[in-house]
């Protein structure tokens, strides 16, 4: 991830404060409280609670305020204010039509979104939201003007809840409560690495979108207990290294790996699904400097059926080394009597590019394998979740279990796809694992064999599905895509791994950075770091005219102060 260009004065101030934070003296007292109703240098987005909530992490990057914030937005309300793409009236439902012809309301330019047939917003492509003047659309792409978080043109505030976190948050990760967690555990938990005070904040998110991190009052700051890594309260007496940057977690959210950008360290946190939360347990130093992106290797479902030794894996990229490192997490259960630890298992050089250094985001895609595993469960007549639920598995007949195991064993050999956003040269590096049954952990180091040219400044990458058609039963059909955000060039690249072609390039506003995918609704949320707002992009390929375009924007844009 590349920070946005910031004014020199702000940088100096930031550097000074960062030095102070680096020594562990972060405080929430004595400064200007951060506003809770805006986005402010957003660095992390996460879709949560079955796409009912969007978590926005605001970094307070120019240190204008004493803290950053985490906000939860009501996604139903956000989608309600986002135009629906269409090709014909049939897609728009009762009382609406597809805006396909020039009209006075659309200014002679059809929007190809659903518009009201009647009422105060009849025929208006943006509904209650004013249209953005043409002159502004170069800087702020999209036809519709930004919607204020707290004061949308219709309805209540979009903000469900907020809390304050340390300044200079860098990332966010959301994990739902796994089946193995006690029922009283929170339904979901957020993990936020914060550079300012060198901590990993952990924040519980309930089903109503409320945040819980020991804050004194709504909107208050997370307490000390929720800022893991600040104290040496762990078996090895460790303190989190400065500049935590990115975080990844095992699917059950118990093992978390954090990269420490400036010190060449990766740190292991263990999260207990209880009030104990996350705790720093181990760290590995003497790595190449500038570890950056981190991604977890999703374990195969087969492991739930078979007691095979499988320490979960994490892949880490580096700015200063053309390498990807594989780390393995040994949980307390296997590491006893010692505490959980992480070990470096493999190093894979990146040779596909001439230089290969300056790697940023990394992601691992197990879609194909997960799809096969779901098919195994269906064939055995059990729910998909059963394949990972020991209680459910215990109820299977021997025949069912045997059939499921054979099927999952075959599925476990399906390779995982690994993608890295690389800056020098700007490219997407493509790799695959070659899993062998019986030696899964030993064969998960990916081989990188392709490189896709990108535009300037790739930073984050994620995989997900876009809607490409409609099934006979009316449900959407999906295809897999890799989505790479290119900060410098204001582009988001959508790459089709099946055809090995770039599918589309999305033009964004300044400083696109954080991404979150709302697969079911065919939407991509984009955090614009530089101008501090959230964009909503269509990823519904059924409608080519709007595919990859900015449908709506939320949060009042605010340019960095010296450029205002």
């Amino acid at each position: 991830m590349r920070p946005a260009p910031v004014p020199p004065a702000a940088l100096l101030r930031a550097a000074g404060l960062l030095l102070a934070f680096g020594s562990g003296c972060y405080t929430t007292e004595g400064g200007t409280p951060p506003p809770h109703d805006i986005a402010y240098f957003p660095v992390g987005l996460a879709v949560a609670n079955a796409a009912r909530h969007l978590v926005v992490v605001n970094s307070d990057f120019d240190l204008q305020y004493e803290a950053g914030t985490v906000a939860v937005l009501d996604l139903d309300a956000v989608r309600g204010l986002t135009p629906d793409p269409c090709a014909s009236d049939a897609e728009c439902g009762e009382g609406r039509r597809c805006d396909t012809a020039p009209s006075d309301e659309n200014g002679g330019v059809p929007s190809r979104v659903c518009v009201d047939l009647e009422g105060p917003y009849a025929g208006l492509p943006c509904g209650p939201v004013p249209e953005r003047p043409l002159a502004e659309r170069l800087l702020f792409p999209g036809r519709c003007q930004n919607v204020d978080f707290a004061r949308p043109p219709v309805g209540d505030s979009l903000i469900v809840d907020t809390v304050e976190v340390g300044a200079f948050a860098a990332d966010v990760l959301y994990r739902e409560r796994p089946p193995s967690a006690p029922p009283e555990a929170p339904p979901g938990r957020l993990f936020v690495p914060v550079r300012g005070d060198a901590t990993l904040h952990w924040i519980d998110l309930d089903e109503d979108g409320r945040l819980h991190c020991g804050q004194g009052a709504r909107g208050g700051a997370c307490d000390e207990r929720h800022r893991a890594g600040a104290e040496r309260d762990n078996p090895r007496g460790l303190r989190l290294e400065p500049e935590p940057f990115a975080v990844a977690a095992t699917p059950d959210g118990t093992g978390l790996l954090v990269t420490n950008q400036t010190t060449g360290v990766v740190s292991l946190f263990v999260n207990r699904w209880s009030d104990e939360g996350a705790r720093l347990e181990h760290a590995i130093a003497e790595l190449p400097t500038n570890p950056m992106g981190v991604a977890a290797l999703p374990p195969p479902a087969l492991l739930a059926l078979r007691a095979e030794e499988y320490p979960p894996g994490f892949l880490v990229t580096f700015r200063n080394a053309a390498e990807v490192h594989l780390f393995r997490y040994f949980s307390e259960a296997v590491a006893a009597p010692e505490a959980a630890y992480v070990a470096q298992a493999a190093v894979r050089p990146l040779t596909v590019n001439a230089s290969g250094v300056d790697s940023r985001g990394i992601t691992v895609d197990d879609f194909e394998r997960a799809h096969a595993e779901a098919a195994c469960a269906a064939r055995s007549g059990v729910p998909r979740s059963c394949a990972a639920d020991e209680a459910c598995l215990a109820e299977l007949s021997a025949e069912q279990r045997s059939e499921l195991e054979a099927c999952l064993s075959a599925a476990s050999t399906i390779p995982l796809d690994v993608y890295i956003a690389n800056r020098s040269p700007a490219s997407l590096i493509v790799g695959r694992t070659r899993p062998e049954p019986g030696a899964l952990a030993a064969t998960e180091t990916p081989v990188f064999s392709d490189t896709v040219p990108l535009t300037q400044g790739p930073s984050r990458v994620l995989t997900g599905s876009v809607i490409v058609g409609t099934a006979a039963d009316g449900s959407p059909l999906y295809e897999r895509r890799v989505i790479v955000v290119c900060f410098d060039s204001r582009k988001i690249i959508v790459y089709d791994p099946a055809t090995r072609q770039i599918d589309t390039e999305i033009t964004t506003g300044r400083g696109p950075h954080a991404l979150a995918l709302d697969t079911e609704h065919g939407l991509l949320y984009v955090g614009h770091f530089t101008d501090s707002y959230i964009g909503v992009v269509s990823l519904d390929r059924r409608f080519p005219a709007t595919y990859g375009t900015m449908l709506a924007s939320f949060g009042t844009p605010s340019a960095p102060r010296t450029s205002q």
Partner: protein
Amino acid sequence: MSSTSSRAFALPLLLVSAPLGLFGCADRAVTVQVRSLEASGDVTFVCRTSDGESLPVRECNLDSMGRGERNLFALVTQKSTGEVAVINVPYNPGALASDEGVVDLDPWTPSFGFARIGARPVDIVSTPGGRASFVGVAEPGRPGLFALPTSCLDTPTQDELPRDLTTWPACSLPAAPASLAVAIDPPAADGSIASSCDRSLGVEGEPPGAMRSQCPASLVDEPGPLGRRKLIVSLPDRGSLVVIDAQAVLDREPGTFEPCPIEVELPLAVDLEGAAPEVVETPAGESCAAPPPPPLDTVYTPRPTGLALEAGTLYVADEGAPVIHVVNVSNACTPMEGPPLLPRAAARPDRVVTTSRVAASPLTPSGRRFVYAIDDTDAPNASVMAFDVSPGSTDRTPIQHTDVTASPVAQPDRVMFGAPARDLTFILRDEPVFDANGIARIGELCDPDPASSSPGVAYRPSSAGGAAPSELRGVFAMVLLTNGEIATIDVEDFDAPCRRPITANPSPEEDFRGCANDPEGIERYTLPNGAPTVTGEVSCDVVEPHRPRSGRRMLTGGSAGTQAPSLRAFPQLAVPESVVRTSFQERPKLLAVDFPTAPARVFVGTTLRQHRVGDEAVAGELIIDPREAENYSLALPWQEPRAYPSSETVTLTYEGVITPELPSGFLTEDGTGGLILEEPTAGLCDRGVLDPELAREVGVERFGLDGEALETFARDHADYIVVTADLLDDADGYWSSASCTFTECRDVFGDLDDDEDENAEDDLPGTDELLPTREFRVVDAEQQRLSVEPRNTADPDRRAELSRLAACCFPSGASYRVRASRQWVVVGSATGFRHGIVGTRVQTETGEWTVECAQGCNTSLRLDESRVFEIAAESCSEQGPRAAELCPVGLATPNDVCVLPEQGPVALDGPGAACIHATPTARFAVYRGAQPSRRDMQFIWQVAGGFLPLTLDLGVVSSAILPERIVSLPQLDRLGVVDAASLGLAFFRLDRLTVITPTLN
């Protein structure tokens, strides 16, 4: 064009803005290279006269361009912006004429104006006469074809409209295209040319597209082969090729996007008949360990992608099926698919090998033709396969080499490089020498016969030139790698007969130089005056078809320096401190061994050292008799020059480590007195761990052992582990509940803390100093699991007790190393520890899978490739109390496999010959010293002058490169490379093998 265009400055501003933002105003001006191309993808070339008439591209040569009579235009797709950039290729890029370089098609708008087409251009081709070019676009929801008439490649005049999306005739396709080719529908017998594949529509006439006022285009009378131009488009999602009349696309009303007039659609088949798996040969004649190939009745969905058209045959790469389609398009209206080529991987028969790009060679002067294809899914890098499609060839599988050896990535049926192959093309190039009558033949072979006077003698190496690595005379494949290098593969080198040693070998048996079957009557390739008729290189295999070309003349000595495999100096022996005071005589000896048909020889520095046979004196004698030798030595064979990395440091270590320290071995008792070591992440088979079963294979195949001797050999020579982990701290709470005590563990295994030296860099002592109780012999090896037992006790009770204690004393993930047992281990700094062991899936009775270690199918690697067994002697003539210390070859102990009856060198066909280490990169024997060899005794030597492939490198211009496409421009004697990153369009001069700067961007 405007150099101040916003497009041109967009990138530089971005690059400059960051530092300005950080540091404020700069005092000094920053020079930033201006460029306009971004995300370039593909290129095609068209040629025009100075007055705008289109010509076949071969008409634009350097002479005609230099005279200003021709203009060569490069049309470069811009994948990011959905445009085609037009470049008037300069005669001299260093001094652009006013009309050369990037053409601005829209001078009224700031920025370079390019030809706007649909988004996501995937391929571009031009007609043979250069009248038009066609671009396939894969825009979501709007896939199609755009036609660019060559008449419209200039800046429009004031009277013309700006070129935009509606300037170009276009049509929509039913699915996204992948690749395009132009084929010909030939004239009928009466010479008439049909306007359509539907013959009922009559013959062609003046097309509508020719009558436009702006951008007219008619292919009817364009130069080039007679016949109607047809576009062949691969549609991966439909698994088919479609044929579209090119003129019909040009005739479309610009600005419209109606469906393309598809005349023929050919659904492609996946015909795997004849693709039955072959039996992979191993030295023992046994099958190797690999999962079986996919069943022949597996259903594949074809996904045609890259196309290569040569002599009326279209070769179609397929990303969905293990075939390369072969389609006869000599009549483009009736394409006929024949039996496909069958990509496969000999070393991994279970792999489904698919391809992305193909290239077909021109017919070579010897009448051969080859198709090369990129195997994208190969690991670690996309590789290149070669197929023989010469007239009469019946083998549809990749060409196999029988003598590929040594490199871990070397495989018999493909070429792999240090980075993935991205694209490839062929060049046919000659620099003919004209005779007195001004006559020369293209493809004349160099003639090394000293008695010959054929025209081929003109190509012999001489001070003025002639056969040399950089002299590209022949047919070569040029492979573009993703890292910006271009690798050269020899296909048919016209100078190959002259690239060889001076000495001849008429015998049918290959000598150590790889020479055989030389013509009778030639003893040496020299003229009567002593002048060589050949290059004098060390090997007859310097040039081998379908293998990487050497970048240097492989010879050592004289003015050449060290360019052939040579030792930098004689090997040195390093010994552990405990035996540092022993004498040369007492130490093991590493000595060269004669070749089967010649005395041992090796370059040491630039001096050739040679074993003297008989009484004939030789300069620089190499002494290989352990009774006389004063230097350690080895011979370097030259049959396989590609086996040598360009330079390497090699170590030969007694009981050397074959793995680095592995961090997390979990030890548990196995219930039978042994231990299980679980190491989920180690990949122990891939690291070459030898268990008794594999050692048994070595014992049988190499030493002919059986019965008890074989079992003893297997047990003695299977690898062992050394636990290097420290004990938990004695204050750790673990000890209070454990079934062993800290003291007990410390007494048995030692506590590393006791040995810590405050000044030591490493916390751990060398494993040589660890207690023998930490050693455990491998009983069975799997990819992530070892069965082990205490190595140094035969007492079952003691064995069980040690195992129990080990599991108790090291309760968490323990670090350990794997070492070879009673043998020496060769490790190269570049080639590592070489072995042929792989993990092979085995299903247990319970249905679970394990991955056992077994001999792999890569015939270029033996499982004992890096393992060396030493030679002892039965007797010693020395007398007296110190006799044993004075024996040049140490005395044998029971169970030694190589024992000489008496002191002296090993004979090639005598006792002990099985212990001669003979690989493509070394030939030697290790004689036991008077004292037993000790763990970590280590011979070290350096080899220089290894194989250096001939590569051209874009990296000399910039590291910000992402090359996409390579094309051959024979009329310019250049290669063109499209770079998606910073370079745009780059050219390489083939006469000088250099990149031309500046590049066109």
